[in-house]
Amino acid sequence: MIRFSKYLWLYAFISSFVLVPGMIALVFFGLRPSVDFTGGTLLELHYAQHTTVPVVGKLFEDQGITVSSIQSSSANDYIVRLKPESPEKLQLLESSLTATTSSDVTILRNETVGPTLGKELLNKTIAAALVAIIAILSYVAYAFKNIKYGISAIIALVHDLLVVFGVFALLGHFQAVEVDTLFVTAFLTTMSFSVHDTIVVFDRIREMVRRGEKMPFDALCDKALTQTIGRSLTNSMTIIFMLVALVLLGGSSVKWFAFALLIGTISGTYSSDFVATPILILWDRWEKRKKKSI
């Protein structure tokens, strides 16, 4: 049996190591919303010859169009983002892009979202997130009729949510990674995964409590963790293998979507053993201390 409960401070340290920078980034930089939410245009251009970001930028400046960002996505591919522009201007831009430089540039991807639609999509996505969260919370409430377990599971859930948001706030600031509808999809999937992983651990703890094993609560949790951690890790490993393959090989369009899922899965696995259970242990200690002092 591994004495997990001895190192509670270590788990707090590991979590805060990820959470604190993430939170700072979230507060100061915020997330970087994609054209899905803000409205605007995203162009992915492929150049036949090698070129540089300023050269690409000049092409747009000549048209009198302000570029919000240019990123190199792979060897000779560039992703250019524009603020919402009038359709006429965009049409002019497209024809000049394909015409003037003849066969040098091909437009791989061209997405334009109107500002009103973006706002609407943002509202809908928030609504979906809320409905999913409420559904998951009701399930937690149903699965753990005991408030102690329920709240610990929810704290672990919030932990995972903050980790994913924090990491993407950092990535948004330093790597210009954007948050789109798929990101929201990823974090909702993550949440459901986090809850199910926690349920497996807590089920085992409750099973042992019910069996009336004669050992302190700390030790009981340690035993439950020791028994379930192998399964939990193995399971996450298989998911992580699939996701890592997608992040590395899946191409630019799903890369960050898969990455959000990956971060969420890792955090979700970690949090059931090292956030939810420690909170349960701390809660138990606090309850016993209170009893003693009365």
């Binding site: 992915e44 359709p87 991807r109 809908k124 996701l243």
Partner: protein
């Protein structure tokens, strides 16, 4: 039938054969020589065509790729309804969609999709044009307001042959009456014959003009053009003074509806504006297909190696169950059919990772029970029994989240974006089928193919 594991096992083998037939590649040219036999034929997936009583069941099992994989353009058009009376708006939206569908078809796009999407105060049309990436021409064509015109033949000879002449722009001249003067068109049923017919109602101005025209054209056809193409050319029977006309003929209800929609497109002019446009080049689409396939195979290979390394022969059986799982999913995508998008592929790959989970839960339970000293056969059955609760709980939240994301009720407060749905549907199918393969299939495989030495 399913009394013994052996029978289920053979049933599963049979299922595999059927699924393979479902999953065969499309238009794959097979040309090899095996010994004395040389094979040279085009392989296609099974297509089903059964007639049961009066039901005609026809299924072509083809993979449907979303625009992000096949390349193409996705357009969302917003219809401006401020000049249209509240009661007429839904009809007007249908009209606009009909007109756009007509234009898109003229454009020669294969399998275009035009659908309407209405929420509380927005009227939208979603257009999907597979394979079309140079959309400027298409967009300006689609974005035009429909132009309805009433025209008459330049020189009309009254003969039976001329009844079959199709009017063109050249053979006709404008009467001056246009869609502007038409108030609305409607499908109604003749009070005499009960057959469907289309009624026209003109504005006051229009009624005067229409009266003049019909007086002039009694016995001759009056051609109606939409977007410079004729849609119908009914013969004028009498002068119509009150601006209320009826077009009769042997319409089917469907034809009458289409005609009314087309006429309304001119009567209820609705300006449309592109609010979303997504174009993916065919090369990027193909590249994405290639990359996600590659990622899938490599991921799958690592998972397989991992499972076999960790659980040995048991792992091997789990991997074969996973193989069946892949076939089953792919067959379902073709059967339902599910339009595969890039996030959809990601959802499927994620579900593979999750599908192994039920096996891992069972195997770990199995090991535990064995450690407690139970014989392996008992331990295995106990493992399946006890793990079931956890498996059910574990998948429940994922299924709920998928349902919220898929938004099956099309609720307007929730997103109905194709990409999000694509992910939710494949993950959902994946999780549900994993319950079948993870438990029934693996269990049968183990019962039939797994043996362990009894410890003494």
């Amino acid at each position: 039938m399913f009394k013994t594991p052996r029978r289920i096992f053979f049933f599963l083998l049979l299922l595999t054969v059927v699924l393979v037939a479902f999953d065969l590649p499309e238009n794959y040219h097979l040309k090899t020589t095996v010994g004395p036999f040389s094979i040279d034929r085009i392989v296609n997936p099974l297509s089903i065509h059964i007639r049961v009583l009066n039901f005609d069941i026809r299924k072509d099992l083809k993979t449907r790729l979303g625009l992000d994989l096949s390349g193409g353009t996705h357009l969302v058009l917003d219809a401006d309804m401020k000049d249209v009376a509240t009661g007429d708006r839904i009809g007007a939206l249908d009209s606009v969609a009909k007109v756009i569908e007509r234009r898109v078809n003229l454009f020669g796009v294969s399998e275009p999709i035009v659908q309407t999407a209405r929420t509380a105060d927005s009227y939208r049309i979603i257009v999907e044009l597979p394979g079309v990436t140079d959309v400027n021409a298409a967009v300006s064509l689609i974005g035009q307001t429909a132009k309805l015109e009433f025209r008459e033949f330049k020189d009309y000879k009254d003969s039976t042959e001329s009844a079959f002449i199709i009017p063109t722009l050249d053979s006709t001249i404008a009467t001056g009456l246009t869609g502007k003067e038409l108030k609305r068109a409607q499908v109604q049923f003749s009070t005499q014959t009960g057959e469907p017919e289309v009624s026209l109602e003109f504005s006051n101005d229009g009624a005067t003009q229409f009266a003049q025209i019909t007086r002039r054209l009694v016995g001759k056809p009056l051609a109606i053009f939409l977007d410079e193409l004729p849609i119908t050319w009914p013969r004028v029977n009498t002068e119509i003074a009150d601006g209320r006309a009826v077009i009769t003929g042997s319409f089917s209800q469907e034809n009458a509806k289409t005609l009314a929609l087309q006429l309304n497109a001119g009567a209820l002019p609705v300006a449309v504006k592109v609010v979303e446009k997504r174009t993916v080049g065919a090369t990027l689409g193909q590249e994405s297909v290639r990359q996600s396939l590659q990622a899938g195979f490599i991921g799958l290979a690592i998972v397989a190696v991992f499972m076999i390394a960790k659980y040995g022969w048991l792992g091997c059986l789990a991997v074969s169950a996973l193989f069946l799982y892949g076939l089953l999913n792919f067959a379902l995508y073709r059967w339902i059919p599910v339009t595969l998008t890039l996030p959809g592929v990601a959802g499927f790959l994620l579900s593979i990772g999750m599908a192994v989970d039920s096996n891992i839960l069972i195997f770990e339970r199995f090991k535990e029970e064995k450690r407690l000293g139970k014989p392996w056969r008992v331990a295995m059955e106990l493992g399946f029994g006890k793990a079931w609760d956890s498996i059910r709980d574990a998948n429940f939240t994922t299924i709920i989240t998928c349902l919220v994301l898929f938004n099956p009720g099309n609720w307007s407060v929730l997103p109905s974006s194709g990409l999000v749905r694509g992910f939710a549907i494949t993950l959902f199918i994946g999780v549900v089928t994993s319950l079948f393969t993870g438990i029934i299939v693996t269990r049968t495989f183990i019962r039939v193919l797994y043996k362990e030495k009894e410890k003494k």
